[in-house]
């Protein structure tokens, strides 16, 4: 079954077509990679899929339901979560609190209860802290859980974003360049984590520049160039596609 699908999706910025008629379907479990040269429109596509941008045309479907133009927090409630290429960390919080915000959807939202120091809240809070610790452990950040996020190195913050996204217990996870700024060891650990999550049934859509990681990890690769889809298939097929080689190497196909 399809988790997330785009149909003829596109958007213009000031007369420039940033993304043009992208159509794809991501499977319910597995890794779908979106690659392409800089400025190909990968992050713009992510922003439309996650509701940050309203698409100029086309439709987005989540488990068969039309969610085009739906606001991000409602998409999150429907099981779509994401990370950001340029870090969007809550820098005034600890690592743990960042992840606890990720768990916002499963918390009680009766503000009136939060006005008083109710004992029942203390228990909920303790469980939320423990749940956050579990997600931090997933990305090897358990030992820095109570450090301020602002004191953590770049690679750790990339993983913190993943932990926060996982805390929302998503069914579809959009990862925007998770390996950027990570060293070889970190990238390897990250790839293993992504593969494990996909094998556990998560539908992962990955934008990534690390080609070795993309090719070894992905079940399916979509290639964008100048806002258009130029290839869609298994990693080995895409690798040998003349149009893809042309886009990356700048030669005529």
């Amino acid at each position: 079954m399809t988790s997330l699908a785009a149909q003829d999706l596109g958007i213009d910025f000031g007369g420039v077509r940033a993304v043009d008629s992208v159509t794809f379907e991501a499977p319910e479990a597995g890794v779908t990679a979106i690659i392409g040269p800089n400025g190909a429109g990968k992050t713009t596509l992510f922003n439309m899929l996650s509701g940050v941008y309203t698409p100029g045309h086309g439709r987005v479907f989540l488990y068969g339901e039309d969610v085009t133009g739906e606001v991000p927090y409602k998409l999150a409630a429907r099981g779509l979560s994401r990370t950001f290429q340029n870090l969007q960390i809550f820098f005034q919080m600890t690592a743990r609190e960042n992840v606890m915000v990720g768990g916002h959807l499963s918390e009680h939202h009766n503000v009136l209860r939060h006005l008083l120091p109710l004992p029942s809240l203390f228990g909920e809070e303790r469980r939320a802290r423990e749940a956050a610790a579990g997600h931090l452990d997933h990305v090897d950040l358990a030992d820095v859980a109570d450090r301020p996020a602002s004191s953590l190195p770049y690679g750790a913050l990339k993983r913190l974003e993943i932990a926060r996204a996982l805390a929302a217990e998503p069914k579809v996870l959009l990862l925007d360049e998770p390996a950027a700024g990570c060293n070889a060891t970190e990238t390897e650990a990250l790839a293993a984590l992504i593969r494990r999550l996909a094998d556990e049934g998560l539908s992962i859509i990955l934008v990534e520049h690390d080609m070795a990681m993309v090719m070894s990890l992905s079940d399916r690769v979509i290639v964008l160039d100048q806002g258009r889809m130029i290839a869609d298939g298994k990693p080995e097929d895409v690798r040998n596609d003349p149009a893809v080689r042309a886009a990356y190497l700048g030669t005529d196909a």
Binding site: Y73, L75, A77, I89, F90, H104
Partner: protein, 314 residues
Amino acid sequence: MAQRFATPLVLVAVMVVVWFAADSNFILRVASLVFIYGLAAIGLNILVGDAGQVSLGHAGFLGIGAYAVAIGPTTLGLHPLLSMLAGVVIAGLIALVVGRPVLRLKGHALAVATLGLGILISMVITNEAWLTGGPDGMPVPRLTLFGERIRGADNWFWITGAVLVIGALIASSIKASPTGRALRAVHDSEVAAMVSGVDVAKYKNIAFVISAIYAAVAGGLLALFDGFVTPDVAGFLTSVELITMVVLGGMGSVLGAVAGAGILTALPQVLTAFNEYEHMVLGLIMMVVMIGLRAGIVPSLIALVSGRRRAKAR
């Protein structure tokens, strides 16, 4: 759990010390004013320090609370406490309705829009003289509780002190709750808060309503305490003072808001020794504090002390 009770307990301790140290009713009266403005600043800090949204018109809500306890008993014959409740409800509703469209704005646009709201409320108070007494203001009937008229600096000290402690306890509880976390998330990154499932517009509005309610309660207390209200209570200068209390004391710090209120309220009384240079000295102190303690008085001092302790442990 400790973070919810620490600040209220510190406030109680300070109150007891002030109570025993005070050698005149004048000091108790100044302390009451500090408690009242501290309450308003705690509320505003939830909007500014936690949620990261500015309001330059918050005195408008102070004014609504103050005039409610002036108009309610004289014109409608309501009990002062019932009038105060009415003021709180009106301020909360205005914040709820105005908050949605206004809090969509960011930065300077939000500052100007909230400034406009404050000016609007203060203009209504000034112009509707048949109801509010106009620019000259109006007297406020004394508060009676259990058939007793409340008077005397000592009674007011404990009444305003008790309300401040309750306000600090509520603010500390919010801070430690999922709501507080959601507000701080909105402050740090709206887009990350959104994709984490936080309804950003709703939480901004919650902070706005809560801060308006704090201001209205403080305004009601201020009017009852003074026995008289003028439109100044809702004026631009008061709004600026409230924001200054929050920033000076420390954004996001409950105790900081009270400390800021303390400095802005009590210091001018102390500085009267400087005669006409009083405001100059006050301004100078504010500048030096902000340059030296950038995060505000309380957070900067906490960082300083914990930094020292860490250095010693090493």
